[in-house]
Symmetry: D3
Subunit: 340 residues, 6 copies
């Protein structure tokens, strides 16, 4: 468990989306209602960090209309620092979502193109101000996938953060759909970002996109060897982490985690999940948990195990954002059913 003396001044940079979900187990738009949430890979990590007691700033761009206003309000409600949210041209990215059930998968229909964030020119960001006082910056591979301008902005941010001595975590989060038409350049762009990272969330398959790797198809071995190669190539990297999810439908899944450092590789899990409420945001919760633990100087094994539990707890919480506190870790492990 992290020591709150080491409260981070964290920042994340990325797009926030409005999620429009069908109620309960209904298909989309059957009963003329939608439930709304806001989320995005990076903002989810920020919310997770705020719930764990850190200061967490969201650097993003929102449309200057009532939808952007509502998003801003929700970010504030989540306890996030929104002083560096820019209001600009473009729309609010959104996605439609219908829960799955049993072995029927949940369905997501993205509608995020042409968002204010993705349209923002890279010169539009003021990194001196936005990163002032920040000691940890979190980015993800979604941002460079949204276009050349966000890609450049992410790199600018990472470099600026490193210059001021901040740690940089990068979640590879490779989304082929978003890279359509720009597949050729993906490797180079992502490689530049990885080069700035001190903490990297990525699988062996992800790493194979930015450097030549021979993969065997054996999950753990591939991760270990690719991590080793990554450490050799990227001098700033301190840890590489990944999670493995095995699905037996929407209700029952198993999670495992693996962390490589220059000292070796450790593993955590499996966490067996039953009666899953929400799968979205699980990886982001893991990232928040790990950043929290590593920043507190927790040993790697405890950090990895706690982060995996936080990820597990997140599967019981509806919505994109993680609201898990440190005290929830023990409660989960005890399996008590009522907290008065």
């Amino acid at each position: 468990m992290s020591d709150m003396k080491t409260r981070l001044n964290a920042a994340v940079f990325g797009e926030v989306m409005l999620r429009l979900s069908a109620p309960g187990r209904e298909p989309l738009l059957r009963s003329a209602r939608l439930e709304t949430w806001f989320g995005g890979a990076e903002a989810n990590v920020a919310a997770g960090l705020a719930a764990l007691g850190h200061s967490a700033r969201v650097i993003t761009a929102l449309p200057d209309n009532a939808i952007g206003d509502a998003c801003l309000g929700e970010l504030r409600r989540s306890g996030l620092d929104t002083t560096h949210v820019v209001r600009s041209n473009g729309r609010m990215g959104l996605y439609f979502h219908a829960s799955g059930a049993m072995q029927r998968p949940a369905e997501i229909v993205y509608d995020r193109a042409h968002s204010a964030f993705s349209l923002m020119p890279h010169e539009g960001w003021n990194w001196d101000a936005a990163l002032d006082g920040v000691d940890w910056l979190h980015l993800s591979g979604i941002t460079p996938a949204l276009g050349a301008a966000p890609a450049r902005a992410a790199l600018d941010a990472a470099q600026r953060a490193r210059e001021q001595g901040a740690k940089v975590s990068f979640d590879f989060n490779f989304r082929p759909m978003l890279w359509q038409g720009r597949e050729a350049e993906a490797g180079a762009i992502l490689g530049e970002l990885v080069a700035q990272a001190t903490l990297l969330f990525s699988s062996a398959g992800d790493l194979a996109r930015i450097m030549p790797l021979e993969l065997t198809g054996r999950r753990e071995a591939d991760f270990d060897s690719s991590a080793k190669a990554a450490f050799a190539r990227f001098a700033g990297l301190e840890c590489i982490v990944t999670t493995f999810r095995q699905s037996r439908g929407t209700l029952e899944q198993t999670l495992e985690a693996r962390l490589a450092s220059r000292d070796g590789v450790i593993a955590a899990g499996p966490e067996t999940l039953a009666g899953i409420v929400e799968r979205i945001g699980g990886g982001d919760a893991f990232a928040a948990g790990l950043i929290d633990a590593l920043a507190s100087g927790t040993d790697h094994q405890t950090a990895l195990t706690d982060a995996l539990t936080i990820m597990a707890v997140k599967h019981s919480i509806p919505g994109d954002q993680c609201t898990v506190r440190h005290s929830d870790i023990a409660a989960w492990r005890e399996g008590s059913d009522l907290k008065r």
Copy 2:
């Protein structure tokens, strides 16, 4: 998987009801709200066929009021051909429904007597028009149970369909409660309908209502022997199919299916269901899946297995109607949890 070159011009004949469901796990009328759905054994089959890509016509009678209007709209929304829906005297049949939970069974309170459909005189139907172009007609044993007029109408429809070379499927669907006071004639009436069927959904117990059978209590053996007897008696019958459901409460059940043809008997399953969302309409989904597959010339084993999977998937979908598409079969079997 069916070949869409063989798109059916299917029709069903039967009553559609308004379902009034308590929200969530609540008992009926606890919180002054009801959720509404439309359904009926035959219309559910039609909806299932429409979702699988076929043209599906619903031949029914609806009251000429706002409730009938709403029902008509919902049938259209489900993609059904409503050009032969008649508006007539009588009320909308309806049923109240409260979900069960754990081992507490769901509760249904029927309120379907005196419906427009059941009051419709048998001469009121225009089969020449209603069955024009139809190559598959689906009926169920509920219709003759609703009264002498619907019984006669169902028989008229079946005979007309057979005359024009259409296939006729008949789901035995024996409901003792509906036959109260007419038990004595049930066997003869149902027998006449079975005599028109090419595809029959029935258990051994069902068949024993229309012909003398010696049953042993062994489910599979009884089905096989009664099917053999049925083939002997009913020259037009091509397939007899049944499903077996084993319940361990409302959440956990097991499904199996068995299909007899003049070439022998095959089986499919078990499909083990966990976390069931909706049990209603499962059998109708199975019927739609089997008709789809058989009409496409799929081999019997694949047809039966796919139909059983479609039935399983239906248990994850709220409401009476089946919206399963062919692509959902594979997704279910993979057990993936998210479809972007």
Copy 3:
């Protein structure tokens, strides 16, 4: 009231949008819920015609995803002929909406750019098929505002309709926001469409965008003189119609209508509205009412008065689409409070 012997085979061409409304009088996204509707100027007219007993086809393009599926279902539920709805690339156009109250105006945030409809190349439409059998085509000025391709498609449709002897109605519906960056060409494009129209919905200010007019600022006189000029220029024009709305906030408004033909000008109203439920779709309801009446050969004065009443009744109906039937006109005028 129209004579149902003259049932139209109407068609409309235009974009359908998903509307996302805040519940009740809430601001957008305050309570994490949205209510959904589908609508669009042309589809609203089609729905109005269907409610009045006509066959009404919607020619549009929808995205090939679950949102498009839901829209298609809703159009069918409204009784519309969707056999010529195309599924294509692009997103679902949508708009967010929060009701106003008292003198606080309702708020609409459009998010319709890059829709499947607007991205559809003009060669993508098959007018021979889509307009087959159609005797009335309705278009609006929103379609050409959505881009060069939709503008060309609208013109193609209008010309094709006129060639086969169909009437063409055109609602000027000028939206400056949509024409941004294409203001210069708006006049010419709209003029070409007006040239195909037999029935035109437009104000004097609208007409001044396509031909030189000297307006005095006196509403009625300007309409009369501009109509006269339009008749002189556009040989095919039979009627020009407009409505005047005077708002005293969201609850209390006054409606008037004016119709010019080559025989002169007539007026209807004022209709005084109190306790308005929904303002959106009022003009489309008026258009549907007038097309219905004119197509039935009703005299102009009755047609205009009835159409204005239908528009008034629409203000009592939530949602974009008009569901007013002929019998509702008399009930409204009687002011009875309960229909058993």
Copy 4:
């Protein structure tokens, strides 16, 4: 205002129905939800009396299923004595309801035929027990309209009540739709019930159904002369009362009341209603208010005025039942907007 020393032991006899209402201003079944209420002319009067501090018993028959259970629970929640509710064969009578708006009338679709109450044989009621201790019985003209058995039962009840010295109030409440096929006998049946009444709610037109009257079309004069004739014919009658409603749509209406006794005629009102929330149950609230006042020995003029105000207040309360207390009368007249 009534003196609570004269607390009534009132009873009512009549059918209770389940009301299924569309939410807000929606048409029926647009958004797959219904809101539920229970009501019925006589039960509404009983609820009104209970709210005013009297003991009020509902004598009715309910189906022996979950819907009947829920109805029974709601009657108890309203503070009614349900010890003489019978559970019997038949269904729950129900009605569908959609609010009107502006000048668009509300819509009611009745579905009450074959109810447990209407099917109850007249010998099934045990009047000795059911009316034990009762000093006021309220009936309405709806009950005899439901069939010969309910008609006979109502008469039995009225005679039994009179024998034990109880007052009997009868609300004529003539519903032509319910008398279809029995129009010829309506006058005689209703006349017998009027003959038992001490307090009669009826218009001149109502009275003309049971005795020959020459009406002039002038509302007040016709009421006065018909009342005079009724007093001449029915020796037990003490008061005849009527209300006049003038509708200017669903939101704005005017109410007046008129009471004839053997001493002459008095009037109350007009009460001008604006922003009406619910029109259903208004007349029943008036009846409860008048019974309350007359039973307390309040002078006729005050009684009539207070009853009319209670009716007015009821128009601000959603649902069928009246929950107005004595203190609400003054608050209404003051027009204060907030009660802390």
Copy 5:
């Protein structure tokens, strides 16, 4: 199963609270809505007894405002006798509640201090009237924890009940949080109440609070020995009962029960619960089931087993109150999934 000839005239004495629950799996107040229920340990037992066919009176104090009115109505809706509910000064006790999920525990925030019930002076209760005709009184250890006045009132009630020959059941229900500041006196007060009880619900740990006991940590053995000691000390005690719950999170739990009489100890269970809907009120349902069975003279083993099943069924029913009927026991054990 109890014999209804032995219908109890039961009474309970205790506080009723308003429960404010977050919808679904949401955290508290995320979506600006709360769902409401009424409950309290003793009222829950009363509701359970009423559902099982007994007369059940709730003796409590409610605030004299709209919240108290609503509570009173709900108690009546549950079929309870509310003729001895007092309206007095103070507030409505309430508690906020958010469902847990998976291994994340449910959360309860109590807000019950200063309630009308807890503020009621002990002389305020009229036990002669309130217990008139009562043959079974149920109390719990929550009441004395609420303050000196409720403690004294509970003791008065118990003594009065015993004097008139009624049975007294007492549920130890020790809540340390409520005894804060009065821990020292808890043992003595609870001991006095136990001394009045004929049926006691308590664990070995509970008993150790009122008498010196040497516990070994072995659940069953400790219960057996402590029960033996209690029988030695409390002459009136006939049965001591306890349940053991083993939680594996909110969804999966195991229940067992143990009953000691002067004849020995018997056990029931385990009942394995999967897919739990609601944990609150489980123990109260068990108490109601056991009282029902014992009062009917059912043998102890059947009584204990049935009570445990009723407790299990309650876990499938949302809300605090038990609505299980005798027929539900068999249905649960069969595991059927649909009751038509």
Copy 6:
């Protein structure tokens, strides 16, 4: 309209409550649901100031539980500075609310006693920190009514604010119910607070509580003379302001305002309100509007008129808090019905 160059660093000190409202026009707890809002006189002013572009800090105490967490989140969502919100012992103050309708008043049931705020010892506040940088402090007469500690704290805050040169506004907001038992000291306590105010919201009747005044019953004259007397007594007072509300039920009201300075008295209004959505928070919106305008140096007449319009607009917005922006003033006056 205020000039944003003079952005205030405002702070308010007072209690925030959770509001639990019945949905729509329902009575409390009829349909087992409540809608939630947070509000409080001072926080409402802060929210109003934030919406108008100022920095607004809420200084308050909240319970350290999930309800307090939710309140904190909502305050942040409203854009308020919550860095000086203290978490302490005690409960969340709350109030239940049911909308009125027509002339039936809304109903409020307060349940705010024993709140964390009211229990906070006056030494618990750190005014140096909490008021650091603050140039405007707003207080109300509710705070001293909550107890001696809050009264002392309010005075401490006011004095500290004056010492650092900040303006202090004080809303008299006299609530007799809250002063029960402390009526004798109310005048002295309130007088001390008025002595610190530069801007005072109070009626003549309010002022008469703190100083001897001869009132005539003529509203305007009494206000003018009492203001004169107040200026004579309180040297720091710059403006005294009041509003007059005339209610014709819940829907139709008239507002007027009056402002006295040492230069004389001016008036604004009447604003006639029709179709009121929410009355709560109207006065707080007025206060926010006036503070905004005066702080910007707007002339008194414009300031008063704009504040009254902001108060009017607030009546169209559900919930306690004011979200009116400057641009809404003009929109309201235009009476436009739709803002795209």
